[in-house]
């Protein structure tokens, strides 16, 4: 018998049914509380959707009440003037292209930064940090001049690159920490198999980046989808404009009318939310992998 057993804590017995009841009850209660809190967090959005279905008089008389009937007039008015399908397709095309550029050039740039620790890496990382820290509204005029000189105005290519530049620093940071966590043995094995740098990147590193890519894509998606200054500045052809521009047409210079803005806002955000819903599992799996280094 060991010597340290003299003061073992006494363990009290309780009824097993009570144990079960207590655990189940607590679990149900906690689920309810958390779901309740989540619901409260969603209330402002519900408020917006409700307003979008109301008439002005309804908003006045009962700001919190449910709309008497679903008043689709607001939506019809919004839809008819948004050029909806075309602008949504433009937004999607630009968003996806930006994701491709950011993902490729970001992952490629991160590979050497993650593997080589020397002065060059540090300088490049500094440059990226500078990009991350800059408020982007100050660079509007220079950007325009550069675009004009390069003949990139009013082209999808131009706006894609401009957006890509905004999110690339973040992408490089994400990928750098993620690649650093990939065991170097994988690469060494590939080198023994006679792979060159590019082949290692392409066949060994790239396939492992899927999770963090999903997270990053979400960030890019949200930013590109909701930004409207770049499209206004860099695109002039109306057929190229994005959906958020169509939404902001409902923000007047001298006021906004909730029965006009909110239906448009709902329509404008809907495709993004749907894409999110469809990819949510993948994206969240990515978020999981992304932050763990």
């Amino acid at each position: 018998m060991m010597s340290l057993s003299d003061t073992a804590t006494p363990r009290t017995a309780t009824s097993p049914d009570w144990d079960l009841f207590r655990r189940r009850g607590k679990s149900i209660l906690v689920h309810c509380i958390v779901l309740g809190l989540v619901a409260i967090m969603l209330l402002p959005l519900v408020y917006m959707v409700m307003m979008s279905f109301k008439t002005s008089t309804e908003i006045a008389q009962d700001p919190l009440g449910l709309p008497d009937s679903l008043y689709w007039g607001n939506y019809m008015a919004a839809l008819s003037s948004m050029g909806y399908v075309r602008s949504v397709l433009n937004s999607m095309g630009i968003t996806i292209s930006v994701i491709v550029v950011v993902v490729f050039s970001g992952a490629m740039a991160a590979y050497p930064l993650a593997r080589l620790q020397n002065r060059i890496s540090r300088v490049i990382v500094m440059v990226m940090a500078l990009g991350l820290a800059t408020p982007n509204f100050v660079t509007i005029t220079p950007i325009y001049v550069i675009f004009r000189d390069l003949g990139l105005l009013d082209s999808y290519l131009g706006i894609v690159l401009a957006f890509a530049a905004l999110k690339l620093p973040l992408a490089v940071f994400f990928y750098t920490s993620f690649i650093a966590a990939i065991p170097i043995e994988l690469e060494e094995a590939a080198r023994l198999d006679n792979c060159n740098n590019w082949q290692i990147f392409w066949h060994v590193i790239r396939p492992l980046l899927a999770p963090v890519t999903a997270t990053l894509s979400l960030f890019v998606m949200i930013m590109v989808w909701n930004d409207f200054i770049y499209p206004l500045l860099l695109l002039t052809d109306k057929d190229k404009l994005t959906v958020m521009i169509a939404v902001y047409k409902f923000v007047g210079n001298t006021g906004i009318d909730p029965t006009k803005l909110f239906p448009a806002a709902v329509l404008g955000s809907l495709p993004l939310l749907l894409m999110f819903a469809v990819f949510q599992r993948k994206i969240m799996a990515g978020a999981t992998a992304g932050a763990v280094k």
Binding site: M41, M48, Y111, L166, N197, L273, A277
Partner: protein
């Protein structure tokens, strides 16, 4: 070694894009900050005068403090709310995915839309919040949310916190997922309560997620201008005038591009310094 250095070719596309469309404009901004540029036409060199003005006037120093204070409020609140929801949802796998997506939804809306939603919620007369309080019999709690100078900054901050709680929650949930399950189980067997497991086991192990989340939210909040711009335009009477609001006002309200550029450079330096210090402190803490 040469084979390794040739890896740097991989950075060329990214550096080209960033250099051309980001770093180059920043340098131009720096040049502009030494002029009296009005956004258009010729700019005249004014040397350091813009910077002199920033650092000799109380107004801008106050704005810097206000910006930092706002950031402290938002970032700490976001960290707490994000941790709270993540810790809860980590323990409730049944509703985890749904809740995470639901919480993330506000962050997917555009700032302008969110700003106007809350404008209507905060309205002192028939705004959603005051009406709800009235309906719940809590009429005494009604507030002039955006009109009371003592309250406005916190109301704006609250909106920002509401918007990004899902964002920090997702980052922390990822961190939780990275903690081996056995750690929590070992803790349970040793009699640690839910709170004790969180406090002594999970929180210390969430270090990297906390670093990522705090850095990203800090940088984002320091630069933010959209919500205060739409909700209060810096008002009432300057109570929410963040540095970024003044930059926008100088740029587009008064067409003082040169001066606004100088303010932007100051802000850039602040962001870099804060980010650097944070990174150092947080990483040290992680490695301790």
């Amino acid at each position: 070694m040469r084979a390794r250095l040739s890896l740097y070719w991989f950075t060329v596309p990214a550096l080209l894009v960033i250099g051309l469309f980001f770093i180059h404009p920043i340098l131009l901004t720096w040049n502009m900050s030494l002029t009296n540029f009005a956004g258009i036409g010729e700019a005249k060199d004014v040397g350091w005068r813009n910077y002199e003005r920033i650092f000799t006037r109380d107004r801008y120093l106050q704005e810097i403090w206000l910006t930092l204070w706002y950031t402290v409020i938002v970032v700490s609140a976001l960290t707490v709310t994000g941790l709270f929801f993540a810790a809860m949802l980590h323990r409730l796998p049944l509703i985890r995915n749904f809740s995470r997506a639901a919480l993330y939804t506000p962050a997917m809306m555009s700032f302008v839309v969110v700003g106007y939603i809350w404008q209507f919620l905060y309205s002192p007369l028939n705004g959603g919040i005051n009406v709800a309080l009235r309906d719940l019999g809590l009429g005494a709690w009604e507030q002039n949310w955006l009109g009371d100078p003592a309250l406005a900054l916190y109301s704006v901050a609250f909106t920002q916190i509401w918007m990004f709680t899902g964002f920090t929650c997702a980052i922390f949930l990822a961190g939780f997922a990275g903690i081996p399950e056995e750690i929590g189980e070992a803790g349970r067997l040793e009699g640690a309560t839910s709170w004790q497991r969180f406090r002594y086991l999970e929180l210390p192990l969430l270090g990297p997620s906390i670093t990522v989340s705090v850095m990203l939210t800090t940088i984002g909040t320091l630069k933010t201008f959209e919500l205060p711009f739409i909700l209060t335009k810096g008002g009432p009477d300057g109570a929410t005038r963040l540095l970024s609001i003044d930059i926008i006002d100088n740029l587009f309200g008064q067409y003082k591009f040169g001066f606004a550029s100088a303010l932007s450079i100051v802000m850039l330096v602040i962001v870099l310094v804060v980010a650097f210090l944070q990174n150092k402190v947080l990483r040290d803490r992680e490695n301790a």
